[in-house]
């Protein structure tokens, strides 16, 4: 199935409405996923629609109090942009390698819905929205509504991922940790993103998300609520243990070629503890 290169966003949308296309941005994931053998053209299960270079899909903007990252914006642009919250910037900086960040996009990383997708935990803590676009119009979903499971998302066949948007929160503490197989060009064994706002010794905001330890990123608002409102001196060993216990059922990792379920779970809990202790 020969692919198509639309010249405009409208053309892309009308093509998407006409039949089943696979939108392809940078290609860093899909070109490998559909690779067959050396020197052969990757075999996409439906015709690829190459949207990486549509100008409407690139760029980082501010709109009122929201930050908008267009879906086909390369990761390296995000890494280098001053408005991007550091918890996301750090995650992007540690992704893959420069050559991949130069073409890999945020929309692609989100759309892949990989449990190990590195932009997901920060986007979860930023309460990001995913905006989908079709000829019928825009549809805005909370990121956790969009991600449905490993490799599954809520994009409809005629839609493309248009942009990621979120309010930039105020925070006094952030903690990002990628535990990978090595220091660069590594897939995550697990990852941790956390932000918190502490004022006058009181925790006013507290959000954490973990990647690669469940079918989709873990973020549990109910547990976070137990931390919000606490005085920092109340974060003692006993309290931390109870929070860890609360998280335990949500952290359901697997054994695979990169790590073990046991390590992923224990290390996740240790990172939660470490973030709480730092408040």
């Amino acid at each position: 199935m020969e692919g198509v290169i639309p010249k405009t966003l409208n053309e892309a949308l009308s093509l998407m409405a006409s039949k089943n296309y696979i939108p392809v941005a940078g290609g860093t994931d899909l070109m490998v996923r559909y690779k067959r053998w050396k020197n052969l053209t990757p075999s996409f299960p439906a015709a690829p629609l190459f949207i990486a270079n549509l100008p409407e899909l690139r760029g980082i903007y501010r709109e009122d109090d929201e930050l908008i990252i267009k879906a086909a914006t390369p990761l390296s642009d995000i890494e280098g942009h001053s408005d991007i919250p550091v918890v996301l910037k750090e995650a992007v900086r540690l992704m893959a390698s420069p050559g991949i960040r130069n073409i890999g996009t945020i929309g692609g990383n989100v759309g892949n819905a990989s449990p190990a997708g590195d932009t997901l935990p920060p986007l979860y803590v930023l309460d990001a929205n995913v905006v989908l676009l079709s000829e019928k119009g825009k549809r805005t979903l909370r990121i956790y509504e969009f991600i449905k499971g490993p490799g599954k998302n809520d994009r409809r066949e005629d839609e493309i991922i248009y942009e990621i948007r979120f309010k930039v929160p105020e925070y006094t503490h952030y903690f990002y940790r990628k535990v990978g197989t090595r220091k660069a060009n590594a897939l995550s064994k697990l990852s941790f993103a956390g932000i918190a706002k502490v004022e006058n010794g009181i925790i006013e905001d507290f959000r954490i998300s973990l990647g690669a330890v469940a079918p989709f990123p873990v973020r549990v608002i109910e547990i976070e609520r137990k931390v919000v409102g606490k005085k920092t001196e109340e974060i003692d060993g006993q309290f931390i243990d109870s929070i860890k216990k609360d998280y335990e059922p949500y952290i359901r990792p697997i054994d695979d070629q990169r790590s073990t379920a046991y390590y992923r779970k224990k290390t996740s809990l240790r990172l939660i503890e470490s973030f709480l202790r730092a408040l």
């Binding site: 490998v32 067959r36 053998w37 050396k38 020197n39 052969l40 053209t41 390698s97 940790r177 535990v179 197989t181 090595r182 220091k183 660069a184 060009n185 590594a186 897939l187 695979d256 070629q257 990169r258 790590s259 073990t260 046991y262 390590y263 224990k266 290390t267 240790r270 990172l271 470490s274």
Partner: protein
């Protein structure tokens, strides 16, 4: 006279930087066919039937039946077929070759071939192989090799001992990840087979093809193409690819290109042998007076070179230590996985990891400083090795060790452990490596090196050894030019072509500089005497073991190697206290590898060898599940990046070997063997634990630390 050690620019580097050097995949010719191997999808099975679809014009499917000669790759044992006949012994074993002009179609055909199997109970682990309850893969007991040797009286040592300490060690698989995947191009012209490709040993390939085609030596030509790394991975394995590609050319009369996809290369080519090593030591008055070492190697499904890998491992069993009473037992065990093969160090890294870690543990138990404890056991000139060989040359370990200690500031760092967010540790290793072929290998080979002085007074090196990155294009030119007193540029050294070069042996065992370089050195001396301007002169030298070397290959007694190189490493690590990730910060090394033939090339060998050793000890994880590797791509089997590599600091002590060119000894493998035990010692130091296994995974450290913390509460 020029200083032979003074670095010069590599002769082959400019064209590599520019991207004009042609590696095998860069060769193309009009009308050539592409090959793809159809592989077993079972771990162990009988092949019941093969269903091949109707083939379009110009496409062919080739099987073992097409082999005119012997369907066995010539190695030490004759058990490894080019293409499987009626049985497959590992997942991915080659069964058929599909060739044709369009890759897309070749792929399609290979995907549509149906093979019907009948499973045979597979032997998935060494334990299972030794139990011998399933039909054996090899012989009656699954042992490709079962060896034993002794020195002194071990039993007496154990009965006299104050304490007997027994420990077990494990090492994992390691994949070479040379940057250039394996590949061959074969041609068939007028009854002659020609093979071009990425390889370390042109004559191994040639000899394998002579038997495969049951033909005369002059009907086979093998030419090395510029080779992008080997590390042992292109020692014996290329014979199989060459044999398959050549069969394609022979059947079709056309040029056949067979280059591996990286995923094929990771999953289906040879690996370093995983090992289980048990060491039992008799300690008396603070010294190890006796030792029993049992080495069990997982050899995979065919014998390959495993028996010799095991021998080298066994001869290295006591490391750099003089222990009067020694018993070494070794087994190379058959299991249903890819055959294991040559990899830098060739059995020694497993043994050196085990003995070094054992010595550390014993020192700790005795309350002794590991460095001082090890030095007190060190080999000295005049000592006999584990096999009873005589150390005739000065062993400069004290100097080597002192230098590496002061360079790294070892003792003060060890004392004042840095207090930081990370756990700091420092580790030490000392070791040796036997130079050249093990045992009587060099004697059997009787390598020949040739120099040809042309009428234009340029001198050509004619040998079968290859540059795969380790530098002989430069070092051997220097040796010849230096002896002859001519400019380096006047020495020619082309990639070997078996039609033009004598058999100077394979490019393995760190033998090229010392053994082949030694032959060239002597040939150049003779050429210098015979030199007449404007005339063509050919000088040839054949290897002879120095007469004082005595070796009994049956009993494993005597000088297992003509000479040894020595080294000591110090490695600093930081371990993350939350995730237990290991960060290797600095690596220090001092080596005695004789006279360096080029200091920069040697330094490159040191950094590269040590980083491979660091990877071996830490992040290079390859595991088996249900007869397949879990890590099947370069995304999952990972090697260190620039961010994972430590800073290196190196120095040399040079005790020359009289028969090496300008006193050179062996280098390439020596640089690998000490890193893993030094990393292990550093992690032990950081976490105050004992370790017994590499790779040291954070997953393992977590469970060890949980146990440690429980017991401390």
């Amino acid at each position: 006279m020029r200083d032979i050690s003074k670095p010069v620019r590599r002769f082959d580097a400019s064209e590599k930087i520019a991207g004009v050097a042609r590696f095998v995949d860069d060769h193309y010719e009009e009308g050539m066919l592409y090959g793809k191997i159809v592989r077993s999808e079972r771990v162990r099975a009988k092949i019941k039937a093969i269903k091949i679809p109707e083939l379009p014009e110009g496409y062919h499917v080739i099987s073992a039946k097409d082999i005119p000669g012997k369907n066995r790759i010539k190695m030490i044992f004759d058990d490894w077929p080019f293409l499987a006949e009626d049985v497959v012994n590992y997942f991915g074993e080659p069964i058929l070759l599909v060739v044709g002009p369009e890759r897309e179609k070749v792929y399609e055909i290979s995907e549509s071939i149906e093979i019907e199997y009948e499973d045979i109970p597979a032997i998935l682990s060494v334990e299972e192989a030794l139990l011998n309850k399933k039909p054996p893969i090899y012989g009656e007991n699954n042992l490709f090799a079962d060896y034993f040797f002794e020195k002194g009286d071990v039993e007496n040592a154990f009965s006299e001992a104050d304490e007997v300490i027994e420990e077990e060690f494990k090492t994992g698989f390691q994949e070479h990840i040379y940057l250039e995947p394996q590949g061959m191009i074969a041609k068939y012209n007028n009854g002659r087979i020609e093979v071009f490709g990425s390889m370390q040993c042109p004559f191994y390939v040639k000899n394998a093809l002579i038997e495969e085609f049951d033909t005369k030596p002059d009907k086979i030509r093998v030419v090395q193409t510029t080779t992008g790394g080997g590390f042992g991975g292109k020692e014996e394995y290329p014979s199989q690819i060459a044999g398959i590609a050549a069969l394609g050319a022979y059947k079709t009369g056309k040029t056949v290109k067979l280059v591996y996809d990286r995923a094929e290369d990771v999953e289906f080519t040879t690996k370093r042998h995983p090992s289980h090593i048990r060491i039992k030591g008799a300690v008396k008055n603070g010294k190890v007076i006796g030792i029993e070492v049992e080495i069990i190697l997982n050899a995979g499904s065919y014998a390959g070179l495993s028996s010799v890998v095991l021998q080298r491992g066994m001869f290295a069993a006591t490391g750099a230590y003089s222990i009067p009473n020694v018993r070494v037992i070794g087994k190379a065990v058959a299991t249903n996985i890819v055959p294991m093969g040559a990899f830098r160090g060739f059995g020694a890294p497993q043994s050196i990891f085990a003995i070094e870690t054992f010595m550390n543990h014993v020192a700790k138990r005795l309350g002794r400083d590991p460095v001082e404890f090890k030095l007190s056991h060190r080999y000295r000139k005049g000592d006999t090795t584990a096999t009873g060989g005589l150390l005739r040359n000065e062993v400069r370990l004290p100097e080597i060790v002192n230098r590496v200690l002061s360079m790294s500031d070892y003792y003060s760092k060890k004392k004042e452990k840095k207090e930081g967010k990370k756990l700091y540790g420092i580790g030490f290793s000392m070791f040796l490596h036997g130079c050249g072929f093990t045992g009587n290998g060099e004697e059997i080979l009787k390598s020949i090196a040739r120099l040809k002085k042309r009428k234009d007074n340029k001198v050509e090196i004619l040998i079968s050894n290859v540059d795969m990155g380790q530098g002989p294009q430069t070092t051997l030119r220097k040796v010849v030019a230096e002896v002859l007193g001519i400019p380096y540029e006047d020495v020619i050294y082309e990639n070997p072509d078996t039609d033009r070069v004598p058999d100077s042996g394979p490019t393995v065992a760190s033998r090229t500089a010392m053994i082949v370089g030694g032959l060239l050195y002597r040939a150049a001396k003779e050429l210098k005497e015979k030199w007449v301007d404007g005339e063509e002169i050919v000088v040839e030298k054949q290897y002879r073991h120095p007469e004082y070397i005595k070796w009994d290959q049956e009993k494993f007694k005597g000088d297992a190697y003509p000479e040894y190189s020595w080294g000591a490493n110090v490695i600093e690590v930081e371990v993350d206290p939350i995730t237990y990730e290991i960060d290797v910060k600095k690596a220090y090394a001092v080596f005695d590898l004789g006279t360096p033939l080029d200091r920069k090339i040697i330094e490159g060998q040191i950094h590269g060898g040590m980083l491979q050793g660091i990877g071996y000890a830490t992040l290079e994880v390859m595991e088996q599940k249900d007869g397949r590797f879990m890590q099947r791509t370069i995304t999952d089997y990972i090697v260190p990046t620039a961010l994972d590599a430590p800073l290196f600091e190196t120095d040399l002590v040079s005790q020359p070997y009289e028969h090496g060119p300008f006193g050179a000894k062996c280098a390439g493998e020596l640089t690998f063997v000490g890193a893993a035990p030094a990393v292990c010692a550093a992690v032990e130091d950081a976490l105050q634990i004992d370790l017994y296994e590499i790779p040291i995974r954070p997953e393992k450290l977590l469970t060890i630390m949980e146990k440690k913390n429980e017991s401390e509460v």
